[in-house]
């Protein structure tokens, strides 16, 4: 992967909670217009890394660069939008009010608002309170908010959690189209099958350490498991 096309670089990111290391010297890059998967089991540091990347959590060391320029945590919101896993925006409000609020704040035009409403499939539940939505629809609403956001880089934490297979496939198509339209996506995923289906590149984490990064073929070569799936590769590398 050439450095010229990388739009985001995390360098030597470390984070410690008390005496235990959550992240140890993590470095990786994101390429413009690609979907990158941050892969790892529960507790491997995916969410911590995303929140540090978005400037919502302090790192003990390391830097984040966007388009080759160091970006301090306070300025990262100009470039990156992070969608947390357990987001329930304004649970007492109707989903429609929440949608309109974010579209007003992001200055989204009517056509874009309706297009993303349709793409994410939240139309039928706009008249319900957010707190009463199923896990899948809460996730879709969060996804819609991230798609309305103006930042070019999206960091999505477990975007397929709570979806059945059909829903997962349809949301994957939406995310692929978003990347094709020029946005850069980093998805934290713990389901390796999902990651294999949607990601152009993969960053493998285990116990807060970077195991490998690259496309599936690169990882197969590193794991010396030609022709295998991501699950076998992951097991071989960790």
């Amino acid at each position: 992967m050439s450095m010229e096309s990388s739009v985001f670089q995390a360098k030597e990111i470390s984070k410690r909670y008390g005496n235990s290391f959550a992240l140890t010297n993590i470095s990786f890059t994101l390429t413009a217009g690609q979907v990158t998967g941050l892969i790892g089991p529960n507790g491997s540091g995916k969410t911590t890394l995303l929140e540090i990347g978005a400037g919502l959590l302090p790192a003990d060391s390391g830097i984040v660069q966007v388009s080759g320029r160091n970006v301090p945590p306070t300025e990262r919101r100009n470039h990156l939008f992070y969608l947390p896993d357990h987001l329930i925006p304004y649970p007492d409000c109707a989903a429609m009010k929440v949608r309109n609020f974010f579209c007003d704040v992001f200055s989204i035009d009517f056509q874009t608002r309706e297009r993303i409403t349709e793409l994410t499939g939240i139309g039928p539940v706009l008249g319900k309170r957010v707190g009463q939505l199923s896990k899948g629809f809460k996730k879709r609403l969060g996804l819609a908010i991230s798609l309305w956001s103006p930042q070019p880089i999206l960091l999505l934490d477990e975007p397929f959690d709570g979806f059945d297979l059909r829903q997962t496939l349809s949301i994957m198509e939406v995310l692929k189209d978003t990347a094709k339209a020029g946005r850069t996506l980093l998805l934290s995923i713990h389901q390796l099958m999902d990651a294999e289906r949607v990601c152009d590149r993969l960053v493998l984490l285990n116990q807060g350490r970077l195991v490998a990064q690259g496309n599936l073929d690169d990882l197969r070569n590193q794991a010396k498991t030609p022709g295998s799936g991501l699950e076998e590769v992951f097991l071989a590398l960790t």
């Binding site: 302090p58 992070y82 969608l83 896993d85 007492d92 409000c93 109707a94 009010k97 992001f106 706009l126």
Partner: protein, 448 residues
């Protein structure tokens, strides 16, 4: 205001108005203020029946302490016990649902979003004073008297207290993870302040008094006497600013390390405290009470200001003695504001016995010293003590021409208007809550 800010302000107000904590604040303020007002009018009317025919009694009929203070007194309770929940809701709910993380990434500076939240919450407090405005409107409609200066002094005191409580609530909501723990901590602070004030007033001689500066409740007292003291204003402002700004700093820089955030919080706290301490060296006051209960007559004040030397007063009374409170309120506090250099000390010569008779002959014999000359007096009245001071200072007592306060007795019956506070206003507030809480009519995905 640009469009995103407008949308955030609309959302914040809608969110606050649809919260149960805000509904409780509004409805209970209506009940409590209405109850306080009706009781106050009943008592004032009882006292006025005798005063209307006797001028001497009429001078004691002061609507400020008879109507305004008890009516707005409920506001103190509401601000202490309910208002923090509204402020906490505004921060903690969004933190618990991860919405705060989204707000931090909106294309509007987060400090501006927090300012909008602050304005929204304070607006809710202001709306909770609507029942008091209604009460005052009724009082005026019945021919009652309200002095504008006194009203604004009282409102200023309550608003500054609410400002301090809002700051404390914001800070605690910012540093705690759940609304329940934030509510517990804020109540510990506000009720702790109230308990401290209560302890100070009941054990005025003990070590507890040295902690009285920590009590926010005590800071409202001067305003309830129609007195604006720079010391009280600055104390409430500093508490509100230090805590509020610290909460702002803590929330708005989540990507900064705890150490760096603590450094900034400490810098803000030190700056505000420095300003507060520096301004306390220039004590200013304004007695806005109509009957000037906090000051001597203007002629006395002018003369007392010319006393250049140090006036030393030694009080030989126990702080628990009612005479101590008399002399403190009617003489000492006024002298401290009028004479440029005065020192008051309490000497413990003995204690009053169970029936108020001194066990020591020197008990109750207060001493006044000016440039080596000493006079003593057992009086606690300014009519007798001011001439003592003038004699010591070699001055002649001035002719006092000020007209005496004549009072405003009024016979009124507030009970028939109870429905306004117990039914009409709560229903209005309930409608406001329902309007913002309801699911709007929805006709497909194109509805705005």
């Amino acid at each position: 205001m640009r469009s995103p800010e407008k949308a955030i302000f609309r959302k914040e107000l809608g969110d606050l108005f649809s919260a149960r904590s805000t509904l409780s604040l509004f409805v209970l303020s209506s009940f409590l203020i209405g109850y306080g007002f009706i009781q106050a009018v009943d008592l004032f009317t009882e006292a006025s029946r005798a005063a209307i025919d006797h001028k001497e009694l009429a001078s004691g009929m002061n609507p400020f302490e008879g109507i305004l203070v008890p009516t707005l007194g409920s506001l103190y309770l509401i601000t202490t016990l309910l208002f923090p929940f509204v402020a906490i809701h505004s921060i903690s709910n969004e933190r618990q649902t991860s919405t705060l993380k989204i707000l931090l990434q909106l294309p509007v500076p987060f400090s501006r979003i927090l300012l909008i939240k602050w304005v929204g919450v304070f607006f809710c407090w202001f709306l909770s004073t609507v029942p008091a405005l209604l009460a005052i409107g009724l009082w005026l409609a019945w021919g009652g008297h309200v002095n504008v200066g006194e009203y604004f002094t009282l409102m200023l005191g309550h608003a500054l207290y609410a400002f301090a409580i809002l700051g404390i609530s914001f800070l605690i909501a910012a540093i705690t993870q759940s609304s329940a723990s934030a509510a517990l901590l804020v109540l510990a602070v506000t009720l702790g302040s109230w308990v401290l004030d209560f302890s100070v007033s009941s054990h005025s001689g003990s070590w507890v008094k040295s902690l009285s500066f920590l009590s926010l409740t005590a800071s409202i007292r001067p305003f309830e006497r129609g007195l604006v003291l720079s010391e009280s204003v600055i104390r409430l402002l500093v508490v509100g600013l230090v805590t509020g700004l610290s909460g702002f700093l803590w929330l708005s820089q989540p990507g900064a390390s705890a150490k760096s955030r603590l450094r900034k919080v400490a810098a803000v706290a030190m700056t505000c405290l420095f300003i507060g301490i520096a301004s306390s060296f220039v004590p200013l006051h304004a007695d806005l009470s109509e009957d000037r209960r906090n000051s001597f007559a203007a002629e006395h004040e002018t003369l007392l200001r010319n006393i250049q030397g140090k006036l030393k007063i030694r009080i030989a009374l126990s702080p628990d003695d009612p005479r101590f409170k008399d002399i403190q309120r009617n003489v000492l506090s006024k002298l401290e504001r009028a004479v440029p250099d005065v020192s008051v000390s309490v000497v413990t010569t003995g204690k009053s016995s169970m029936f108020g008779v001194g066990a020591d002959d020197a008990y109750g014999l207060n001493e006044f010293e000016y440039q080596g000359k000493i006079e003593t007096s057992r009086s606690t009245s300014p009519k007798e003590l001011l001439p003592v001071i003038y004699r010591l200072a070699g001055m002649n007592a001035p002719e006092v021409s000020s007209t005496a306060y004549s009072g405003y007795p009024l016979i009124a019956n507030a009970s028939p208007f109870g429905w306004l506070f117990y039914l009409a206003l709560p229903l209005c507030f309930l409608f406001l809550w329902w309007w913002h809480h309801r699911i709007p009519n929805f006709h497909g995905g194109n509805s705005k």
